[in-house]
Symmetry: C2
Subunit: 214 residues, 2 copies
């Protein structure tokens, strides 16, 4: 029955997140039905792309009436796993790690940071919020004891790969990487990079073009 959750392209899954955001806005505004063209306009894509993306979820939506906002919201929350609670280990309690720990939308989406690891002796044994900071030597124990689903990497780039190798060896199959480095992982581990430097560099490329056009 849940076969439809297999093999949906990554790009479509990313658009599901955006569609869901718009649908939640529509629901708050009391809108009950929405046409693919309206979703497309909000997302800067085409109605055909919206229909193709949503066809991965099975067949629904009525010609002329569009999609039921409530039904589509439910289906997207389900396929995105948002009604589950995921147990997250944060590697690195520096500035970026601490900001992530306190970032409200994480918890609102079911991501609970239950483990924090750092290698600074001044931090180990203290708390970040209500979570005890543990040393790197405790990594494998902590992941097992806390039944971790997902790891967030917020350590400096040079130490990231070695730490992630241990995480994968410990059986973790999902990694969110904030370190400005390309991690090498086995194919069966889901990896998402949130690289601020890559985003910045593509902007400076755009700015360079603008300067040269003047």
């Amino acid at each position: 029955m849940n076969n439809f959750t297999n093999r949906i392209p990554d790009a479509a899954v990313r658009r599901f997140s955006l569609y869901l955001r718009y649908l939640e806005d529509f629901e708050r505004s009391g809108i009950r039905n929405v046409a693919s063209g309206v979703l497309a306009e909000r997302g800067g894509t085409t109605a055909a792309q919206v229909r193709k993306d949503l066809s991965f979820l099975g067949s629904f939506g009525k010609r002329g009436l569009g999609y039921s906002v409530r039904e589509l919201t439910g289906v997207l929350r389900d396929v995105l796993g948002l009604d589950s609670v995921w147990r997250v280990a944060l590697l690195g309690a520096g500035r970026i790690g601490t900001a992530l720990f306190r970032y409200e939308p994480f918890r609102a989406r079911g991501f609970h940071i239950t483990t924090v690891i750092d290698n600074d002796p001044g931090k180990i044994g203290t708390r970040l919020g209500d979570v005890l900071i543990r040393g790197e030597h405790e990594l494998e124990c902590a992941l097992q004891e806390d039944r971790t689903d997902l790891v967030i990497v917020a350590v400096p780039a040079p130490v990231a790969q070695a730490l992630v190798d241990r995480v994968v060896a410990a059986g973790i199959r999902a990694v969110l990487n904030y370190a400005p480095t390309q991690l090498r992982l086995p194919d069966d581990v889901a990896l998402r990079n949130v690289s601020m430097t890559v985003a910045l560099e593509s902007l400076s490329h755009a700015l360079t073009r603008l300067r040269r056009c003047r």
Copy 2:
């Protein structure tokens, strides 16, 4: 002469950032030449893709010898605009904004935060690092006085669009968005989203699939 900087696909530009990171690693290790296949392996792509991406930059690289690490590094830094200094305005001096302000790789890549805007009366008039925090009513003046090239949006989602509309009206043509919302901007404004929630949701989709396969 710089015509080659026009119309390079966004995805290729993003890969340029990654290639540059690997090349800098190679240079530190004393490696002088690198084959497209080696760059491809590090980036999880194919040698054909690497050659296609680099063909946007003109024709260089020698069959059998590969690319000169130093030459390619220079060309990529140039096309990514990394030897320029960009003046950045940070909108929002909350937790995420403060973490970004202190994020070293920004400055190392030529992005200097010279303006900080917030709407909290308790913050206005104080300093973040050596930059005075100014109120939202001063936004247009600050962007003009500080000759801002690029704006980073780190305010709560509900207020982001209105603020960005003012930024665009003030003539800014590059926006880096950290707010968990889809901003609507004119086509001639370069926008990059670094959405943590979209990345997280695509991971929870992957985790959901894993759970259902068990």
